[in-house]
Symmetry: C2
């Protein structure tokens, strides 16, 4: 295992020291491993809390700030946060208008739409909407988005010290989760054009994305894949959507929900309407997503 770490058990806590040092606009509760907006709680604003295992950075701590999350609970690597963390985060951001946990959903596992839920629900909360409205929007984004991911390599969890799974040099894993879960299929390594089809086709089969509002197309890197490849993949995805008659109204390309050092990517489509576009475009000021401020 080759990593820029000290002791494997200290990775999360020491990384949070770096987050605190780098981002004076955030506050870090080191006891509970919670990242908060420095100005939380904001009176009258719905507090938006997210969280999950670490190792998916910038998700979720990198999305704390104006127009997105109020707090993120950082579990150990690939390990859910404990209730005490969520309680501390909730208390820390409770401005009297209620607190929404963006990750209440169960069922399918997320490899992309989480980022879109956090951005859009965060924009709604920032605009002063009610807890009910924010929760409804989160459900709407979750319901209108589909993702499919693939891995070229495994990741290596610091405390394990070796790759989570073996993937031969000439194979890839399709339909992965973000913790090295087995995918739907293990298939021969293919060209980017074919990989894009293997990701986009099942998404289009599973949900209706046609319509005037178009889609938000999100090509996400799993952590170990260079940006030059992600843009190449975005070109392929964009071309496929063009062929399918689906206009791309917004896009996002980069490493936003990762799986440590795994090489691979996920594609997420979200069906857009005017309301979602306005909330997507609304100002956001976080370490990992920032515009309009």
């Amino acid at each position: 295992m080759k990593k820029l770490i000290n002791a494997p058990a200290d990775v999360v806590s020491e990384s949070l020291l770096g987050v605190e040092a780098a981002h004076p606009e955030l506050r870090v509760d080191h006891t509970n491993k919670v990242v908060l907006r420095a100005d939380a709680p904001r009176p009258g604003k719905v507090g938006l809390v997210s969280g999950g295992g670490s190792g998916h950075e910038p998700l979720h701590g990198g999305f704390v700030g104006q127009g997105m999350l109020d707090a993120a609970c950082c579990g150990e690597v690939f390990t859910s946060p404990v209730p005490d963390q969520i309680l501390a985060a909730t208390k820390g951001v409770d401005g009297g208008a209620g607190v929404q946990d963006s990750l209440y959903t169960v069922g399918r596992r997320g490899v992309g739409a989480t980022v879109l839920v956090e951005k859009i629900a965060g924009a709604a909360a920032e605009q002063g909407r009610s807890l009910t409205e924010v929760a409804d929007l989160a459900r709407k984004v979750n319901g209108g988005a589909r993702s499919m991911g693939m891995a070229l390599t495994s990741c290596t969890v610091p405390q394990a010290g070796s790759p989570t799974f073996d993937l031969p040099e000439d194979e890839m894993e399709l339909g992965i989760g973000i913790h090295g879960e087995p995918g739907r299929h293990r298939v021969p390594l293919a060209a980017a054009k074919e990989i894009a089809e293997m990701l986009v086709d099942p998404i289009l089969e599973d949900h209706e994305f046609a319509g005037e509002g178009g889609v938000l197309a999100f090509v996400n890197g799993m952590g170990g894949t260079p940006l030059i490849e992600l843009y190449l993949m975005y070109h392929e995805v964009h071309a496929l959507l063009g062929k399918a008659g689906i206009p791309v109204a917004r896009n996002l390309v980069g490493n936003y929900i990762t799986s440590l050092d795994m090489a691979g990517c996920s594609v997420t489509l979200l069906k857009l309407d005017d309301e979602l576009v306005r909330l997507w475009d609304a100002p956001v000021n976080t370490p990992a997503l920032r515009w309009g401020t």
Copy 2:
């Protein structure tokens, strides 16, 4: 080789198709492989052109936009752009106030300061300063910055198909360039705390960073290192600078000047004064660096 590509020879041109599709605020000259601001040339503004081999994304194409570069010339992977590309870019951004190539320097190789030069010279050009002033600022940043990089693994160039160099599981390379050049030393793998010392100590020995204005501390990932490790490294670097009595006034943590899928990082320090802080803080709106707009 496991990469999200089609034919190795098409990686750069196909990735630029993705850049064009993702960023309507940019224009891509596919013949010359040049990324330009869509609103170039801007009359009366010094045009700022950069470029270099591809494989270092987001450098340089990801830094084209308001407040930074006017154009970037994209060479083949790890291969300098040819004169025709630079000529095309220069013509494309010439607004009558002169055009500055930010990469005119020879001598030491850059593993970090380039990003800072492009941001600060770009801000000056955006403010309407003269070619002489912009060039002087670029020299000032270049002269006041020092970097040191390290690699845990080699990168794999698409057209080569195998790692550029072998690095045993228990060793790392110190003092690297961004193309897999041999470093200063090959040393046993060490903890993050010791690696931070090996990077920061030679920087502090080579230049005087003490003083009231403090420094900009930049921890840059080489492409294959997860953000959780970069923040951990930032914590170590920040702590070392604290011990040395050097205040950190600004920082940047992330993958900004990379070497394809190489794991590792570089540390760059830039001595700041009021002028440089104002230019660093000035609005920037590019795919990879964005604030204040």
